[in-house]
């Protein structure tokens, strides 16, 4: 199919949509990963605190 001389604007616009959705998706994944890491860290600290308490 042939596109006219305004096709570059069309491609750019749909690139904006795809990049927008992809960037938000990546941001969600990264934030989930950070939270998982923080949860693990807190779990470790809690376990250490519990161990210290039982030692005392």
């Amino acid at each position: 199919m042939d596109f006219d001389q305004n096709a570059p604007y069309l491609y750019a616009a749909y690139a904006v949509f795809l990049i927008g959705v992809a960037v938000y998706l990546v941001s969600l994944v990264l934030r989930q990963r950070n939270i998982r890491r923080d949860e693990q860290m807190i779990q470790e600290i809690e376990a250490e605190a519990l161990a210290e308490k039982s030692d005392v």
């Binding site: 199919m1 305004n6 604007y9 749909y14 904006v16 938000y24 969600l28 989930q32 939270i35 949860e39």
Partner: protein
């Protein structure tokens, strides 16, 4: 569904006439879908804000902030793709027209909502303040909808009557465009629902983590 919608836009949708930008007119399908969901996101934020103020249940606050954040993404897409469509149609990237200015204002209000939240640590206070802001902010939605119908605006009103004599670009929707528009809207709605659900789950974990951290610090 998103991919199918893209295929329909590129290979099935009719080409617009030169007045509406020729092939650039195909931007319309996703531009309008993103705009409607950008507005819809504010409405969801406002409704959940009202529910929060009534019940003080933080679940509604989580939905409100999630919806607002996704609204920022969608409105940013609307503004950028509007510029890309405006260049071949209006021969300018941007003009300080009522509708366009109001859209920027709406985007900035969304950003300010998120900034307001990040500035308050105490969860209940943060939820209360942002709920009030969310309810006030939703007033821009009917304003934005009406502005191209009531005032002289370069931006065409897609549906409904308009007194607008200076709109530049095709405003009518041909019957063969409607199924593609509905499909695009459906695809965007699914993306919105998926994003809101994921973001709400994320916010829930963040809140739990903050509470656990505070508990740990107090020991």
């Amino acid at each position: 569904m998103f991919v199918v919608a893209l295929f329909m836009v590129f290979f099935i949708a009719p080409r617009g006439d030169l007045r509406s930008g020729g092939d650039a007119q195909r931007i319309f399908y996703f531009h309008l879908s993103a705009a409607w969901l950008g507005f819809g996101a504010w409405i969801v934020t406002a409704v959940c804000s009202i529910r929060y103020l009534k019940t003080r249940d933080l679940k509604f606050d989580r939905i409100a902030v999630s919806s607002a954040e996704i609204g920022v993404v969608f409105l940013a897409m609307v503004l950028l793709t509007g510029m890309l469509w405006g260049r071949p149609t209006w021969n300018t990237w941007w003009t300080w027209d009522f509708k366009l200015t109001l859209s920027v204002l709406q985007f900035l209000l969304y950003v300010a909502y998120l900034m307001l939240r990040s500035g308050i640590d105490e969860p209940d206070r943060r939820a209360r303040f942002s709920a009030v802001y969310g309810i006030v902010g939703v007033l821009t939605v009917p304003l934005n909808f009406l502005v191209s119908r009531v005032l002289n605006s370069i931006h065409p009103a897609v549906f409904g009557p308009s007194v607008n004599g200076s709109a530049q670009g095709q405003s009518g929707v041909a019957p063969e465009m409607i199924p593609i528009l509905i499909f695009s809207l459906l695809a965007f709605s699914l993306v919105y629902v998926y994003f809101v659900r994921s973001r709400v789950a994320l916010q829930e974990r963040m809140d739990t983590l903050t509470a656990r951290r505070a508990e740990l610090m107090s020991q």
